[in-house]
Symmetry: D2
Subunit: 325 residues, 4 copies
């Protein structure tokens, strides 16, 4: 199941084409909409005030409520766009945003309104695709769940911690980063390969780094392995309920690039939103001189709460690729 | 430039096919052999005592000392194999090794001698391929260098630290993990994409997770982003020597999945070698009962020192893919 | 430049996503619409009476009239659909149509209205993508042109021949096949490879067999080579205007899978439209008994005239892939 | 099951890496060697006098006589090379050979000895890979067989016809082309797709055009469709032995890019060997003046008899890809 995301934040529409979905999957719209709602902005004081209805329109690939197996195109129209917020940014690239690198790649032709194609808004069709993937995985008893593992330096934060950290960042015209951990349960053992391009860690990484702002990924004990001895790190094989499992899961369910039947566990780090209200140094490209920028407009001080479902969606798509469906 | 690694630790040979190398690259054997030597075992008391000559034979794709541009096959014959060390492991999978997951994937047909196809020995042809990639990159003024960032819990260790840590692990029949940081300088801005499958972080990850024992990767500040505010994390644009650069490089040279002209910087974590002499719990598969295993044979208590050049090799191959050569 | 076509004949819309177009290409709508018109039905008595406005809406990837370089989604809404024509076909697969093979692949979930995803109507977004590809190629002085080489058994037919053949087929509730030849001029020498997956003939074939009803392709002298001696077939090298060219072009511009600088020339055969009014034998699947079918509805007795621009579009997309743009 | 062919006609060795073969396939060497023998030169007066033992050495991916599932590398050492035959060809490209196009692609670095990487000799490892594919297909009751459909203009030639045509060509220092038809029986219905890159015709074409000298391919009635009416061309569905089949097979077992359960049938055309003894016009590149060339050395006047097994091998590899094994 391959997918292509398209769209710009303030263009006509954003969307996704899922090239070869499993046929016969019933689109459970209650579930899909609940997944979309988990990502939607404007739900609380913690996220951007932009309102989006995010109504998904199916253009193809669905007949009588079920996937046909032919390419499925889903689009979400853009509404409530305010392109005037961004007009003066064209010559002064926002630090750590895709403005500068993108202007070189696209030879200055990219859509500068909002984040354009770089916008976090493009995770909406990704969540749709992930919801479909979850419906496929559900039939195979595979479950995916993610949660916030860190926000603004606080590990395993409570709801109150998250609110405090984000409110403080907003008040200071700043933003904060965080991390999300994810678990895929029910994956059969024996999938993947030690070989380039086919190992489980590499496949999942491809999906995770396609999520805007993700800058790191670790499997199982991850960077913690650098502090461990083999005798601590190794996961002993034991028998439980007549099945061979491992006593611990430091390997994150993967040995030699291949699933071992334990939950596939990984964590991804999100950088703080680069768009902040504080004055920042940048360069006026047209005049080639240093200047300052203060970014106005609607921006999440922390995308991590909304990113949880995006990580799950990407994990679901990765799991489908790993399963070969 | 695509590549395929083949071989088993105790089979006839290991090797690599580089499918479509840049034509006309002179094979600088002094350089290639020095790269191979950086990875070779048996050089010091710190690594496995297995001696390998690692003589590379070119079967195709080279004419009069230069790459032809057609598929280049390089092979290294296996010598000094001791298959008897491993014979009883077949029914008792080594914890955290690919024995168990591999036996399911390959339906029990994998070569059980040594690590078989999972062996770290397969990094030898990878280093050869990386050396060729470095020769290509050198013409484009792109340089790659890696170093040990952590070993056995010690950050930025000295040579003495490394020796102590590894010696202690050997004495205890144990092993230790570590981490390697890598920098690619000279990459032009504007390469990559925010899109799935084409972003720089995703491409580099594919190459890194194909290195045995790598379990995590971070770009720039990586997991440190989870502790940062945007105002700290953002890299301000400034002008230096008439060029637009960033004052810091927390982004690791990548914004929006696209190179920004700064050094591409990342770090990878290596798990401790799973093969340790200490007794470990495992399962006798044929009898489906729990048992113990003590792994004998030649094993590195820490692969990190030898892995530095492997990370560089993989980074060089990734850089070639990113450049489209 | 990769593309994905989506849609069903009688669904909401058909369309295409062009994943990574060259940025900065101005969409010349006069040209694009003229290309769309070359394919559009209902223009003459020779083709299906279905009227389609085929208005292309751009959802993404275009800003201020130019490609941004990010994924471009173009959609065409379906109008004038008559799904009742097709309702009884579900259990009686139309001979030589995709009904039977598709029902197995898609486990009975495909959209049965019209040709569904198999419909020739999906060539409309293909022509749009091809028009964009031609605009890219034009900047590189590469030109593509195709023409009818055969229709209903008549080689190199005149307009009058074509009209007669098709009218006769319509009157008889039948259809006729034909062939289209295509030439790509201006392709630089040295592109392609003898290797699997990269040779010019293989790449062009992938694009041509994705056109519905194409069943054969030949390059240069094609099947005529089977009747020739090497001394006739070989293309002698000569010098013209200071350039090395070949005196003849039996090779169709390709030697060893690589362009030689001569026009890339090929011919494709189209099967007769399988949907004919005449009674045909088929099977009632639900009752597993043999029966007859008479297909009613709007069908071209010959798609070849409308297919010329589709072949050009596919050739343009293939040329972009070959050029690596 | 992906494969990569490597090697040059007069280099150290030729070979193939099969990246991810089905594990547990026993290498039936009697069968493999008989397949290799069908392709081997020097067996009769009809083919090149070059003797090759074509001993296959397995470097990896086989353990205790069976495929492990890890990359299998097989090499054939080159013997009996006569590089002096070819030395003066470097500046005078052989008409319709890959000399000229290749020298541009490879910037003059290709191996000029013999056909180098363009040599028909590289079909030897292809036949090995095909033999392995056939062993995999045999377990699935899929059978592949090809035969000469034309040689030197004679359709469905007898052994005597073939001998006469080829002998005449040799006597005249000339060569002749031909065609091979191939049938794959036992393929399940429902494989493939109408979509770009996944349709059966496109996949098989990729494999066939990777065979040196193939210049055309047709499925079922192929170019004959251009002379047919739909009422003749369509394959009526009927019931035989309780199964739905088609009465005729003009579609070559493929409808809408998807297998329909009937034999997959296609024909490929081979150009005459470009290397002929007769004097031919060419250009002296170093002096940029027109000249003549007389090719000496060992060349088949007709490769078609030896190509039959090569077509089968490529079809077997294609069938494995289509089956997803």
């Amino acid at each position: 199941m391959k997918h292509v995301i398209f769209g710009e934040s303030h263009g006509n529409a954003i969307g996704v084409v899922i090239e070869n979905p499993v046929p016969g999957i019933e689109l459970d719209w209650e579930f899909i909409n609940s997944e979309m709602a988990r990502r939607a902005p404007g739900r609380s004081s913690l996220s951007t005030s932009r309102k989006e209805s995010d109504n998904v329109e199916i253009l193809s690939g669905v007949y009588e409520g079920k996937t046909t197996g032919t390419p499925l195109c889903a689009v979400i129209r853009n509404e409530n766009t305010r392109s005037e917020d961004y007009s003066k940014l064209m010559n002064t690239p926002r630090p750590s945003h895709g403005d500068f690198s993108g202007s070189i790649k696209y030879a200055g032709n990219q859509d500068p309104r909002g984040g354009g194609h770089f916008s976090g808004r493009l995770t909406a069709p990704l969540v749709f695709a992930g919801a479909l993937a979850k419906l496929i995985l559900k039939q195979r008893k595979i479950n995916i769940s993610a949660s916030i593992s860190k926000v603004g330096g606080i590990a395993d934060p409570s709801e109150k911690d998250i609110e405090n950290v984000i409110t403080e960042a907003r008040v200071n015209n700043d933003s904060v980063g965080g991390a999300v951990r994810c678990s895929i349960t029910g994956m059969p053992a024996g999938l993947g390969s030690p070989d380039f391009g086919r190992n489980i860690e590499g496949i999942i990484s491809q999906y995770m780094f396609a999520v805007p702002a993700v800058k790191a990924i670790s499997f199982g004990a991850g960077f913690g392995f650098a502090d461990m001895h083999g005798s601590e790190a190794n996961d002993p094989f034991i028998i439980r309920d007549g099945k061979i499992v491992t006593e611990t899961n430091h390997s994150g369910g993967i040995n030699g690039g291949i699933t071992n039947g334990m939950p596939v566990e990984f964590e991804v780090a999100f950088r703080p939103t680069p768009s902040i209200g504080k004055a920042q140094k940048t360069v006026d490209i047209s005049e080639m001189k240093e200047t300052e920028i203060e970014i106005v407009g609607r921006h999440d001080p922390c995308i991590v709460p909304r990113a949880v479902v995006v990580v799950e969606a990407s994990a679901a798509l990765a799991a489908c690729e790993i399963l070969g469906v």
